[in-house]
């Protein structure tokens, strides 16, 4: 596995009205919603991992932490950075950061486990039928 500490990736996303807290049920808050930052954090970490995994392997999130430090209005761009902090067998730990056009808006960590997709899906299928 070519996953190495220090690898990083960057995503850029635009804040649209669809991903505001208002749209997720927090009326009146037309700013980037926290769960969307969580989703971008996971997306960045997962994409970084996926680029270095063998076919048939994937990752699942086991722990996500996020501090949301500042509000971002609709129309701004956000840059999300994931850096692979630790590789410990199948366990991966990523450092995460998000910045809008003005300031740092969030930081966090995501722990993910490398799984054999077929085995993972079999396990889920068993849970479904039990």
């Amino acid at each position: 596995m070519a996953l190495q500490q220090g690898l990083s990736i960057e995503l850029t996303r635009l804040v649209s009205e669809e991903i505001t807290a208002h749209r997720l049920g927090n009326e009146g808050f037309h700013v980037l919603a926290t769960p969307i930052i969580v989703a971008w954090f996971e997306e960045a970490a997962r994409t970084l991992a996926a680029a270095h995994l063998e076919p048939g392997l994937g990752t699942v999130g086991s722990l996500i932490t996020a501090k949301h430090l500042a509000a971002t209005p609709v129309g701004m761009r956000v840059r999300v950075t994931a850096t692979l902090r630790e590789v410990d067998g199948r366990r991966l730990l990523f450092d995460l950061e998000a910045r809008d056009e003005r300031e740092k808006i969030a930081e966090g960590q995501n722990e993910r486990f490398v799984v054999n997709l077929e085995r993972f899906l079999n396990k889920v299928a068993q849970k479904q039928t039990s």
Binding site: G25, N26, T34, V60, L63, I64, H68, M76, V124, K127
Partner: protein, 132 residues
């Protein structure tokens, strides 16, 4: 403000295909996606405290620390339980847990801040106007 420590809130919802990881960019992983668990938890905390706030107030999320401990297939019901553990001025601390039909699937420390909507909007408008 009628907010008191120990308030609990609950929501129950069925996991649909649209809530699965493979719909959110993680191919083949047909299980309830972590950001959706976070979304439901935040929604519950937000809507739970809202009726207890004064007119013109709302809350914004500041901290999410969530362990996702088990995978949930589509079709399962998920129950989310929120407990308002601590009130520290404008800071609200929640402990949330989620259970599917078979087991506990997630637990989360979540913090929110009570804000004055008008003041919050002014601040956001200023930030937008001043952007480079």
């Amino acid at each position: 403000m009628s907010l008191t420590e120990g308030l609990t809130f609950e929501l129950e919802r069925t996991v649909t295909e649209a809530d699965l990881s493979d719909r959110h960019g993680n191919p083949w992983v047909h299980v309830f996606t972590t950001p959706k668990v976070v979304e439901w938890m935040e929604e519950l905390a937000t809507t739970g405290v809202q009726p207890h706030l004064q007119e013109g107030q709302g809350t914004v999320g500041t901290v999410v620390n969530m362990k996702h401990v088990a995978a949930t297939p589509a079709g399962f019901k998920v129950k989310v339980v929120a407990n308002l553990k601590q009130i520290d001025g404008r800071r609200l601390v929640f402990w949330l847990e989620a259970f599917d039909d078979a087991e506990k699937i997630a637990e989360c420390h979540h913090e929110r801040f009570i804000v004055d909507l008008t003041r919050f909007h002014d601040k956001v408008a200023k930030k937008r106007a001043g952007r480079s």
